[in-house]
């Protein structure tokens, strides 16, 4: 029988330490909606989403009440739209009509984000991929809930540098097209390498072609729980530190597993994976940076940061893996700047730079996330930053990503406010050294030698 102390511990995690289920993401395949007629395609997409995901929000709310744990977001991911729309969409404007359909379906269903306005171009682009990418600035400007992602490389294929260069321009254009909202469009656009097919977290979520018709993926979150647990072992050895993180990660993940199974059962859709990621929010006490400080750093960004993060990421995985029958997605610690008060403080104090963040992305999921840079940062420089991250992902066989916001009309020293879970960010300086000749070479970077395992 469960004892009183255990009940108190669980409820303290939920009520005081911000333990929550960050997202129940329903992945929906749209491959069976393909049609050469654009209007019919849009109609089929709207119909399928509103049919398959009709109960998503009410089921999420019921689960919240049954277990007494907040389910913060209910979301949908769909098959990369470049594939779904390829047959009907001959221009970027054609693709924008699909973005509007996705937005309309999301609004009707009451979900706050729908991911999968995406292209997977690890080795090369089709005409449809290119048109979708060209449509991204407009699509993100005229919709509210649509999230977009482009996978530009993988360990198996290398990096499509033509795609990287184009995405540098697209990020800039998206920032300019949404200049009236502090370039908010870029907060919903992520460029990935080794993108997983089953990621439940936005903005990079899409329903990969390796998936079934529909699947439930769940992302848990609990930076505050880990931080509180570590407060009790201050000064203890690394062994004790690691054991504490593992035990906490186990407990947090078990909740995710329970919610995922229950959601799958109630929706009549198979359970996919639990994503173990520690995802911070701007709320006080919900910060990955604060965990790193509790481990022993005065501030994030100084010496020791990468090692502390590597340790944290690894222990979270070790504890979490045993707690769930299937783990997947990104599964690691997120280090978004604007969504984590500790990161914001470190940037404001001058302790955390883009270069250090880049080093940190070598040892955690995912990448340079929610980083605001001056609006006049060139497309080539942004492409260079994307290429650096993609190279880290490619060589280390891990997911990396760039979600960077060149805030139109703003410069270093200013702050940008995105609101809600997206938070706010000080604008960070970027090294003013051109990489134009590099990104303009054309073609692709070959796959690394260790990818040839056959």
């Amino acid at each position: 029988m469960i004892d009183h102390r255990e009940v108190l511990e669980t409820n303290a995690m939920i009520l005081k330490e911000n333990l929550d289920v960050r997202t129940i993401t329903l992945g929906v395949s749209l491959l069976d909606c393909c049609d050469a007629d654009l209007d019919r395609l849009n109609e089929k997409i709207y119909h399928k989403l509103t049919t398959v995901a009709g109960d998503l929000v009410p089921v999420g709310q019921e689960i919240e009440k049954t277990f007494g744990i907040p389910v913060v977001n209910k979301r949908i991911s769909v098959t990369p739209i470049a594939m779904v729309g390829g047959c009907a969409c001959k221009t970027p404007a054609d693709f924008v009509t699909i973005a509007k359909t996705l937005d309309r379906a999301a609004e009707e269903l009451g979900v706050n984000f729908i991911g999968g306005y995406s292209a997977v171009i690890s080795k090369g682009m089709t005409e449809a991929d290119r048109n979708l990418m060209l449509s991204i600035p407009e699509a993100l400007a005229v919709t509210e809930r649509v999230c977009s992602s482009v996978n530009v490389g993988s360990t198996k294929t290398g990096i499509d540098m033509d795609g990287v260069r184009l995405m540098g321009e697209i990020v800039r254009k998206t920032a300019e097209r949404t200049a009236d909202r502090d370039s908010l469009g870029c907060a919903k656009l992520v460029v990935l390498c080794n993108a997983p097919d089953d990621n439940p977290f936005m903005a990079g979520a899409f329903h990969g072609v390796s998936e079934g018709d529909a699947v439930v993926n769940v992302g848990v979150s609990g930076p505050g729980v880990v931080k509180t647990a570590l407060e009790k072992v201050r000064g203890a050895s690394f062994e004790v530190l690691c054991e504490t993180i593992k035990k906490t990660a186990f407990k947090v993940t078990r909740v995710g597993q329970l919610v995922a199974r229950e959601a799958a059962k109630r929706l009549g859709v198979p359970f996919g994976i639990v994503d173990l990621s520690l995802a911070p929010t701007p709320a006080i006490g919900d910060s990955v940076a604060e965990i790193l400080m509790e481990i022993g750093l005065d501030s994030v960004g100084g010496p020791g940061t990468t090692a502390a993060l590597a340790l944290l990421n690894d222990q979270v995985k070790k504890g979490g893996v045993m707690a769930s029958s299937y783990v997947g997605g990104l599964s690691g610690a997120f280090i978004p700047v604007s969504e984590d008060q500790g990161m914001i403080d470190a940037v404001n104090a001058g302790n955390l730079t883009i270069e250090k963040l880049e080093a940190m992305t070598c040892v955690c999921s995912v990448g340079l996330d929610m980083i605001a840079v001056p609006g006049d940062t060139s497309a080539e420089t942004i492409a260079g930053i994307i290429a650096d991250e993609a190279a880290i992902g490619m060589v280390n066989a891990k997911t990396t990503a760039v979600r960077i916001i060149p805030v139109a009309g703003k410069g270093v020293g200013e702050t940008v406010e995105f609101g809600g879970l997206l938070g706010y960010a000080p604008i960070m300086p970027v090294k003013n050294v051109s990489c134009e000749a590099f990104v303009r070479r054309g073609g692709r970077i070959p796959a690394p030698i260790h990818s040839f395992k056959n």
């Binding site: 009183h4 009440k65 329970l258």
Partner: protein, 90 residues
């Protein structure tokens, strides 16, 4: 057997347990165990209850118990015991 864990937190006052037990009996819910303690100066009670014969879903039960608690000035949570089993038992 479907079990619920009902927790009550708040300032101690007359009739908290009576109000909750009356509601539970109206819903054909059998109480299996009760324990109480004082945490940080607050009254803290936990009940394990068998909700198999209760016609209502967890969501409705949780809402109504919260309302019963509000009348007594205490916070009442009703959760499926699975969340605790999953978290604390391998």
């Amino acid at each position: 057997m479907k079990k619920a864990i009902i927790t009550v937190v708040g300032k101690d006052t007359v009739g908290i347990i009576a109000a909750i037990c009356t509601y539970l009996s109206e819903q054909s819910i059998n109480i299996l165990d009760i324990s109480q303690t004082i945490v940080d100066g607050y009254f803290n009670m936990m009940m394990v209850a068998d909700v198999t014969d209760c016609g209502k879903g967890f969501a409705a039960l949780a809402d109504e118990l919260r309302a019963v608690g509000e009348q007594k000035g205490v916070i009442v949570h009703c959760q499926s015991d699975e969340i605790f089993q999953q978290m604390h038992r391998i």
